[in-house]
């Protein structure tokens, strides 16, 4: 340890963490109960005690790019035992939000995603894109947007054509990946630098091939929610989270199959209910709604936990995706084609929101936490 350390507090960072749900950080008196209470905190340089003091001192450089912040699964065991009500779990959650905002470019979008007042603007963007692009195509004679199609058995593609949807969604999806890639590049470099500085690793450099191999090794841990299940306080969250994660994976597979079917084999929907892909779609959709409701219920039940807009945004998105998706299908099967199309439009907005804003929202944890857990394993942190 250095004999002296000049603290240069970044007050705006403290305020940012407070805004994102870490309002109780200043109550911490560094007793270190949290680091012991945490079932997954390692023995050397354990968290979250050191993150608590770094946050209250505004030491942004020790938090952004600190992989430990992502090892936390927000189970809340630390907050339960905390003698001061400083809520370390919520503080780490807020630091993670600040990290996402920090690495996402352009930063202005990240600021908007974390601000409830900007939600209407964020929702208007996909609505405008779909309508304007559809109308533009109409002008040049491509009829991908119909407000009053006629026919006996209509489905959503008769209103908003699947090709129109795909040419909007695919670039959005790819750009999200690009934004993630740029953020990750900085994140991994910072995380490694932080680990070297705090003596959390003995690896000098990161070998990409070894890192990829470690990722494969870590994947089952993530899928099985092994870390999540070590929590004692908040165990039921694990089930809800697992349902939502697997629903997303299921729906991603369904969407990919449908996409290939359409673009490669020119198979048009809607698929029959006996089609296995349809089964997967329906099961995943139902699980997504149930998982979302459970997440919502857990948050509402846990009164001692802070839930900020950052958290509500994601739960809201999960529920909107699930409910609009399932309603679209149910209304279509019921023959209410017009109403189904309106709901489908809302569904498309939420899908676009999912793709476009993921690198800027809480959902970005799917990437950051996975990478941080892989790095923990790779770096030999114990």
């Amino acid at each position: 340890m250095a004999d002296s350390y000049l603290v240069e507090p970044d007050v705006s960072f403290i305020k940012e963490v407070v805004r994102l749900g870490g309002a109780d950080v200043k109550k911490c008196f560094q007793c270190a109960t949290c680091a012991v209470a945490c079932p997954i905190s390692p023995d050397t340089k354990p968290f979250p005690r050191k993150e608590m003091i770094a946050t209250s001192w505004g030491l942004k450089d020790r938090l952004i790019g600190n992989g430990d912040v992502w090892l936390c699964h927000n189970c809340g065991d630390c907050s339960t035992l905390c003698p001061r009500g400083a809520k370390p779990a919520d503080v780490l959650g807020a630091v993670r939000a600040a990290t996402v905002i920090e690495y996402a470019k352009p930063k202005s979008i990240a600021k908007m995603v974390s601000d409830p007042k900007k939600l209407p603007i964020l929702l208007t963007i996909p609505a405008v894109i779909i309508l304007v692009l559809g109308l533009l195509f109409k002008i040049v004679g491509i009829n991908w947007l119909n407000f009053a199609p006629v026919g006996e058995h209509l489905w959503q593609s008769d209103y908003i054509n699947n090709y129109l949807v795909d040419i909007i969604m695919i670039p959005t999806f790819l750009s999200a990946i690009a934004i993630f890639a740029l953020g990750l590049k900085r994140f991994v470099a910072d995380m490694h630098a932080n680990a070297l500085k705090e003596g959390k690793t003995n690896k000098e450099k990161i070998d990409p091939i070894e890192f990829a191999k470690t990722f494969v090794k870590v994947l089952p841990t993530i899928m099985k929610h092994e870390r999540f299940n070590e929590c004692s306080e908040n165990k039921e969250r694990s089930t809800a989270h697992m349902m939502v994660l697997f629903s997303f994976i299921g729906l991603f597979i369904v969407t990919a199959c449908f996409f290939i079917g359409e673009w490669v084999f020119h198979i048009e929907g809607p698929y029959q209910q006996i089609n296995p892909i349809k089964w997967l779609a329906n099961i995943s959709g139902i699980c997504l709604v149930i998982g979302g409701i459970l997440l919502l219920k857990n948050r509402l039940d846990k009164k001692d936990q802070i839930s900020s807009y950052w958290d509500w945004y994601l739960i809201g998105l999960v529920l909107t995706l699930g409910i609009t998706g399932m309603l679209t299908e149910m209304l279509r099967l019921n023959g209410s084609y017009g109403l189904s199309a309106i709901i489908y439009f809302l569904h498309l907005i939420s899908v676009w929101v999912l793709f476009a804003y993921t690198p800027f929202s809480k959902l970005a944890h799917i990437v950051y936490r996975t990478v941080a857990m892989t790095y923990q394993e790779y770096s030999g942190r114990k």
């Binding site: 560094q30 007793c31 270190a32 012991v36 209470a37 390692p42 023995d43 003698p83 705090e198």
Partner: protein
């Protein structure tokens, strides 16, 4: 110059609680001429202080000071002491209270010479509350060697049994009276001082620290009794599971104190108590290692700071900044492993020791049993003195957690406040 030198003895006051603060208030008021009724629920005076082995930081026995106080009480006709007595109701206002006091029978009258013949014949054993239930005592007992009043007590548990008859027959002085009945008496007093003191916080309530779950985890007051010559182990510090001399002891500071889930405040004395306990252990076992896990060591003032610095010099005492939040027991050795993060080095410590002492704090007695009077209290059960209203005041640890010297200073001041109420009338 006034020539009215006579004290306005028309007024008298009641002091509730015969611990160190109550004794001081009673004596200070009586020695300037006021009548004092001292009401104590135990069969003896001295309270928590009577249970201590040594005072910090001088490491001298409290019996010495208590003895002086008892002498002063004996010599002062203005103090009337009621033991086994509790206040049941208070009515009236400043200068004119009526206190209803219930006095439980001691079954032993003033003829008692403390010969001990009654205890010899008594077969029934009862829990020894003076020793915090760590051992048992005879149904006819002297609470401790230098108990005041120096008179045996007969436990209500043996009344009506053969033992009661045996005890009565054994007494050569006709001191045993098994027919004594509880009585309720009204007293008129001008002022009341509540010196109701404190209870050790119930360590069972601290789930993550294993008290009651593992034998070799004890509390600081239990260690105090162990270290005392008149305690359950005759002064030998041993671990409960096998009565073995511990080769290592860990102290868990702030066990239930400074904790919103338990007592939100600092109990003030536990740091100094644990440092003192380290001296007990180190003096008895020169090779035993003592680990003290703390959030901050609070040793306020010059003398306490010096004491802390002296203990720090001892290589056998290891102070670690980091609160213990997890304990476990090895079922084979019955050793305890405590887990804490050393906040200075940022490393987790898993320290295995023979015995763990929880430095539990003070909970005001009034938090469990609110006195039957119109008194203001805060959420934690400490009294809030209303000096403008007057009449009733709290002294000592009923006000706030305090060491003996602060309690006595406070009690002296409160004696004056009570006197002012009497004089105003």
């Amino acid at each position: 110059m006034t020539n009215d030198k006579a004290a306005p003895a028309s007024g008298s006051m009641m002091v509730v609680g015969g611990g160190i603060a109550g004794l001081t208030t009673a004596l200070e008021a009586a020695e300037v001429g006021y009548e004092v009724l001292l009401v104590e629920k135990n069969p003896y005076l001295g309270g928590r202080v009577a249970q201590l082995n040594q005072y910090f930081p001088k490491l001298c026995p409290p019996t010495c000071g208590l003895e002086i106080n008892f002498r002063r009480i004996k010599d002062n006709p203005r103090i009337k002491v009621l033991t086994l007595a509790e206040v049941e109701a208070v009515s009236g206002g400043p200068g004119n209270y009526t206190a209803t006091v219930k006095i439980l029978p001691r079954y032993v009258n003033e003829n008692c010479t403390c010969c001990g013949d009654c205890a010899k014949v008594c077969e029934t054993e009862v829990s020894d509350t003076y020793n915090l239930g760590m051992c048992r005592t005879k149904g006819a007992y002297l609470p401790f060697d230098m108990a005041f009043p120096a008179r045996y007590v007969i436990s209500p548990q043996i009344i009506g049994t053969d033992d009661a008859e045996k005890v009565k027959t054994a007494c050569k002085y006709d001191a045993v009276d098994v027919d004594m009945q509880p009585k309720t008496v009204d007293f008129s007093v001008g002022a009341i001082v509540w010196a109701t003191g404190w209870e050790p916080y119930d360590a069972h309530r601290i789930d993550n620290l294993g008290f009651g779950q593992y034998d070799n985890i004890i509390t600081n007051m239990m260690l105090e009794r162990q270290a005392a010559k008149n305690g359950p182990t005759q002064g030998q510090i041993v671990r409960p599971s096998d009565k073995k001399a511990p080769e290592s002891v860990a102290f868990v500071q702030c066990a239930g104190s400074r904790d919103e889930n338990h007592l939100p405040y600092c109990s003030y004395i536990c740091c100094m108590a644990s440092l003192k306990h380290a001296t007990y252990i180190r003096a008895q076992y020169p090779d035993t290692k003592v680990y003290i896990f703390y959030i901050d060591i609070r040793s306020p003032g010059d003398r306490y700071e010096k004491f802390y610095n002296t203990i720090k010099q001892d290589p056998g005492v290891i102070l670690i900044k980091g609160k213990v939040a997890e304990v476990s027991e090895d079922p084979a050795t019955r050793n305890i492993t405590v887990v804490a993060e050393n906040a200075v080095t940022g490393e987790k410590i898993h320290q295995t020791v023979d015995m763990v002492v929880l430095a539990t704090g003070m909970q005001p007695t009034a938090a469990g049993a609110k006195p039957p009077a119109d008194l203001a209290m805060n959420d934690d059960g400490f009294f809030i003195n209303d000096y403008a209203k007057g009449g009733m005041f709290a002294a000592g640890c009923a006000n706030k957690p305090a060491d003996v010297i602060s309690s006595n200073q406070n009690a002296t001041g409160i004696a004056l406040k009570a006197i002012q109420t009497l004089v105003k009338r």
